[in-house]
Amino acid sequence: MNDLAPTAERLQEAREFAGLKPEGYWQGVFKRLRRDPITVGAALVVLLIALAAVFAPWLPLADPYDGRIVQRLKPIGTEGMPLGGDELGRDMLSRLIYGGRLSLFMGIAPVVAAFLIGTTLGVLAGYLGGRTNMAIMRTVDVFYAFPSILLAIAISGALGAGLTNTLISLTVVFIPPLTRIAESVTTSVRGLDFVDAARASGASHLAVIRTHVLGNVVGPIFIYATSLVSVSMILAAGLSFIGLGVKPPEPEWGLMLNTLRTAIYVDPVLAALPGVMIFVVSICFNLMSDGLRSAMDVKL
């Protein structure tokens, strides 16, 4: 999960991708995606967990905050508690499903925010070049010099625990790699003849950026961003795990993993359950990202 860095290879791939995009391209991508059983399976699992999380209040579930001391660490399969009770006697199944709300949100929201900010910065740096490029890219390099988890912990540790602070720190962590890819692709697109031709035929800078640059840049960055969702989820849950993310009693997978640590000698399977959720969702996002990459990567 620490593999944040877009490798030279990945950057090259993104640049190559930007060059060629035949007609009917997106139909082709979807057709290839539909035929890839692993990607479809992974997408279905994520969809199922996401739908359950979103519609949790309407599902016939116990109150995820309602703890009863007699139900403390009830084993899996107890009458009325299919997945047992947690360390405060709250219904595990309900908490795992409700936990998906915050965990998925914290996996996706920082990536979306960083995607918007990083693309903007990268396109600006790549298109304007010169001093603007220097200023943006050198600043990005500084944040890049931190291992991702160290930077997340540094910012969260200074700002303190809480949902908003976690979102801020993770967004800052993901901006540098996305900016780098956007800058790299933009710089190579800007040098292509059709951009000069568009400028010469009277297109404004804004029009060139919108149609030619963004059209080519968004694809590769999107592929990369999907692979960041799993990193974001693991980091967010990790921050909660050391007490820097979501605060109790909110149901959130990382936090649940932390509070259930006291139970590993009493009910080990129960204590490991929240981690299974993080792992399943994160591997599904990685598989989806891999599938998307091979579906979008048309080698002519």
Binding site: M1, V142, A158, F241, P268, A271, D290
Partner: protein, 317 residues
């Protein structure tokens, strides 16, 4: 070559300064007056005022940064709010433990990753290849702190084979080379090795597969070279890329071990940061992050130079 090294130095020094600015700014991110984060909550106003003066918080920010950097360069990272001991001393004690653990994890993860990825690259499309690819995805998708908990559940709680916490018997907080200490290291090292194992295996597989598909390999085969000699060519060509990834991964092992160290109560820099966060000990947090980030920057610099030595194409490029 010397010109290349100088150019890299000219690039790295501003980055290192930038890193120090970020670390300096961290303390200023804290809501409220900075001095409140440094003095105990029940300190009398005179003390607060004295501290403000001593630390230079009444000075403009650039001056404060200059003073802070000057002290940091001389090895003075301030004092821990909780223990009162110098931060630099706390870090140097913990850093050794983190380094040893990272080294063990790297040896384990890198050697297995090289072996598995290399074989997968040679046997493209085979069952083994698919197995390694699947394992690599699993490695990067694993929340490693959870893997640590699962290992503790299996090998400590259930089987009672290996100790679950600490670096040695009876709360030993200094690592030594003996069986009692090695036993404590097995679970955290295996946990930490999972990610680099996956990433190295994936990288090596891709690089080896790509090299084997090159025309010059066919030429080598055509002129009758044995597989052993071809392997030498493959290793020579794969080395720069693989080395760069290994360098990065080693840095991540050092800087990213906080969660694993927390799971195993391993007395390293990650555990130190965790304590600092729980007790709101900002000088300790800031100092540890500065040291780890600067180490990461220097490591990348060293890998960069080494890579150029191995691959002359980079120098010319």
């Amino acid at each position: 070559m010397l010109r290349y090294v100088l150019r890299r130095v000219a690039y790295v020094v501003p980055i290192a300064l930038g890193v120090s600015i970020v670390c300096f700014a961290l303390v200023h991110l804290v809501p409220g007056e900075i001095v409140d984060a440094i003095v105990p909550a029940d300190a009398p106003p005179e003390v607060v005022e004295q501290m403000t003066k001593d630390y230079g918080f009444d000075q403009p920010l650039p001056v404060q940064y200059g003073l802070w950097l000057w002290r940091a360069v001389q090895g003075d990272l301030g004092e821990s709010l909780v223990s009162g001991r110098p931060v630099a001393a706390e870090i140097s004690k913990a850093f050794g433990n983190t380094f040893v653990l990272a080294l063990a994890a790297a040896l384990l993860g890198f050697s297995l990753g090289l072996l598995m990825g290399g074989i997968a690259g040679y046997l493209q499309g085979s069952l083994w290849d698919r197995l390694v690819t699947g394992l690599a995805v699993t490695g990067v998708s694993l929340p490693h702190y959870w893997l640590g908990i699962v290992l503790v559940i299996i090998f400590s709680a259930q089987l009672n084979w290996l100790p679950a916490v600490g670096a040695g018997p009876a709360g030993s907080d200094q690592w030594q080379l003996d069986w009692a200490h090695l036993r404590h290291m097995i679970l955290p090292a295996v946990t930490l090795a999972a990610i680099p194992l996956g990433i190295i295996a994936r990288t090596v597989r891709a690089v080896v597969a790509e090299i084997l598909n090159q025309e010059y390999v066919e030429t080598l085969r055509a002129k009758g070279l044995g597989e052993g000699r071809i392997l030498v060519h493959v290793i020579k060509n794969a080395a720069p890329t693989v080395l760069a990834v290994m360098g990065l991964q080693f840095g991540y092992l050092l800087g990213g071990s906080i969660l694993v160290e927390t799971v195993f109560s391993w007395p390293g820099t990650g555990f130190l940061m965790n304590t600092a966060i729980l007790q709101r000990d900002l000088p300790l947090l800031q100092g540890t992050i500065l040291v780890l980030a600067l180490f990461f920057v220097s490591l990348n610099f060293a890998v960069d130079i080494l890579q150029t030595l191995l691959d002359p194409r980079i120098r010319r490029g």
